[in-house]
């Protein structure tokens, strides 16, 4: 019995060595397989969620994401909607946009971006739309996250 356990133990140890030997050559392949797993995507509260609508203007493109109410279980009562502006040219242009994020044909908020002074302002037009929670100037545009209240939770 002792001999069997000894042999099994050494086989186990040899497998450990094999794992180290194959780890780095196979890293690319293992990583690609891992990336296919269902949980291998960034949480929408950090990534901003999927893009719901893209609007092309002459000098820039606007990406409006789906509202995010991420919570550990179910949905949160508060969330945000992420909007991105990507300038087509290297020269940034001022932005004054009316945004309808939930496609109900009513304007939800108005965003004003002044790239020269690096400022961004919001005018909320609906009760469930709050203030700008986070915003940043990127290499060729702006990203903003606008706070929302989850109306579905209140009903």
């Amino acid at each position: 019995m002792k001999k069997i356990f000894t042999v099994l133990g050494f086989i186990w140890a040899a497998i450990c060595l094999l794992i180290v030997l194959t780890m780095f050559p196979g890293l690319d392949s293992f990583s690609k397989q891992m990336a296919k797993l269902p949980f291998m995507k960034i949480n929408p509260s950090l990534s901003g969620g999927d893009v719901a609508k893209t609007i092309e203007y002459e000098s820039y493109t606007v990406n409006i994401h789906k509202p995010v109410f991420a919570a550990l279980i179910g949905e949160s009562s508060r969330g945000f909607v992420q909007v991105e502006w990507i300038w087509k040219d290297s020269i940034p242009v001022p932005v004054y946009d009316s945004v309808d994020f939930n496609m109900d044909l009513t304007t939800d908020f108005i965003i004003e971006i002044d790239p020269l002074n690096d400022t961004i302002k919001i005018v909320s037009l609906q009760n469930n739309v709050g203030e700008i929670e986070a915003s940043a100037r990127t290499g060729n545009g702006w990203i903003a996250r606008i706070g929302l209240i989850n109306e579905a939770k209140l009903e």
Binding site: F10, A13, A136
Partner: protein, 391 residues
């Protein structure tokens, strides 16, 4: 000469030059293949010199591990160099791309933050419940993508268990280095129960990260932001965060390791270290004490940097599951009573084969994992010497 031989541990390579060289040969060939990428290109003199320095150093250290029978003192050279050079390269890259060590909200919003293995302890519960990763990084591609780091951690945990903390973690080298500055500890007899504090931190950060859907350890606590990157100070909150991580780095990574000669951050704070302890349960290797040879002199208890040995270890004949397999206890034991061991094999049997199997696996992992950063760092230094610029 006889006294020197008597001091050597009972491994078949210890003190035997040709046996040691023979066992070094596979490492020599494998390292050459990995470090050169299989297609060596020595047209760039600086690259060739940096490659040779790293290659010769690694092989020399492995030879010394086999020939002297000592593990920890040679392992620690690469471990410490890895930590220092990785921070050096990382900070250099930050200054080249962003002109500062700080990241800003644009990096966060665009998910451009490099992933580090410490986050793994925080993403498990949210991954299970929300089917997503709560870290603003890259899934694939870029610097330190999420999938690669998880694969490396997962496979190395299977192979060497919590040995990852002594043979892989690119932060542990800082404390390992600081803990070796003094010859003797100023603060002695550190209570071994402090090792449970890291589990308390794991409990809290796992729960709070799941609640907040954000890695709270990285956000608030991680002391290694001091040697990598951190959030810009733009408010009272970010100022307090900066004070917290700076104080923790100064206290747990520098001051306490110098005074106690223990890896205090790893032992009392690191949540991944606590999680890795559980991987020791599914790993083939552990540390065992031979009761017949042990004289309970406490050398191993005093030497253990992670408080994984205490008086109860003499009764059970094994280190606690928080052992990170650094080999320090094995090196200091004058009776060679404490050794690496393969589960299932009787204690004190086949010690040479056991040691070779573990040390070969662990050293190979460390060498390959660390080679990129160390080689790049040496390259930059050569650049600095020859051209006056790091770029």
């Amino acid at each position: 000469m006889k006294t020197e031989l008597a001091k050597l541990p009972p491994y078949n390579t210890a003190g035997h030059l040709w046996k040691s060289l023979l066992f070094c040969l596979p490492m020599f060939l494998i390292l050459f293949m990995f470090l050169s990428g299989g297609r060596p290109d020595f047209s760039d003199i600086k690259f060739t010199v940096s490659f040779l320095i790293v290659f010769i150093l690694f092989n020399y250290l492995f030879f010394k591990i086999l020939y002297t029978g000592k593990t920890d003192r040679y392992r620690s050279v690469i471990f410490i160099l890895y930590a220092v050079f990785l921070s050096f390269i990382f900070i250099l890259n930050m200054f080249e791309t962003r002109d500062a060590m700080t990241f800003n909200s644009a990096d966060m919003l665009q998910c451009n933050i490099p992933f580090c293995h410490l986050v793994i302890s925080m993403i498990l519960i949210p991954a299970a419940l929300t089917n997503s990763i709560i870290f603003p990084g890259n899934i694939m591609g870029g610097f330190a993508p999420i999938t690669s780091m998880i694969v490396i951690w997962g496979l190395s945990s299977l192979a060497i268990g919590k040995g990852f903390c002594s043979w892989g973690c690119f932060y542990g080298g800082w404390e390992d280095g600081f803990s070796r500055i003094r010859k003797k500890a100023k603060l002695k007899n550190v209570n071994s129960l402090f090792r449970w504090f890291a589990f308390a931190v794991l409990l809290l950060v796992a729960i709070s990260s799941a609640v907040m859907l954000s890695p709270t350890y990285c956000d608030w606590i991680c002391p290694f932001k001091a040697v990598t990157e951190f959030e810009q100070v733009t408010s009272a909150e970010t100022l307090i965060k900066t004070i917290i991580f700076s104080s923790l780095f100064a206290g747990l990574v520098v001051i306490l390791p110098v005074l106690t000669k223990k890896r205090m951050q790893c032992t009392t704070l690191c949540p991944l270290g606590a999680l890795n302890s559980f991987t020791n349960k599914i790993n083939a290797f552990d540390i065992r004490i031979n009761h017949e040879q042990c004289t309970q002199c406490r050398n191993c208890i005093n030497a253990c940097p992670t408080l994984s040995l205490d008086e109860s270890s003499y009764k059970t004949g094994r280190a606690h599951f928080t052992c990170c397999k650094c080999g320090k206890c094995v090196d200091v034991c004058t009776k060679h009573a404490i050794n690496y061991h393969i589960k299932g094999v009787p204690v004190n049997k086949a010690q040479s084969a056991t040691r070779i199997l573990f040390v070969f696996s662990a050293f190979l992992f460390l060498a390959i994992f660390a080679s990129g950063s160390i080689q790049m760092g040496v390259y930059k230094i050569i650049n600095l010497i020859t051209t006056g610029s790091l770029s």
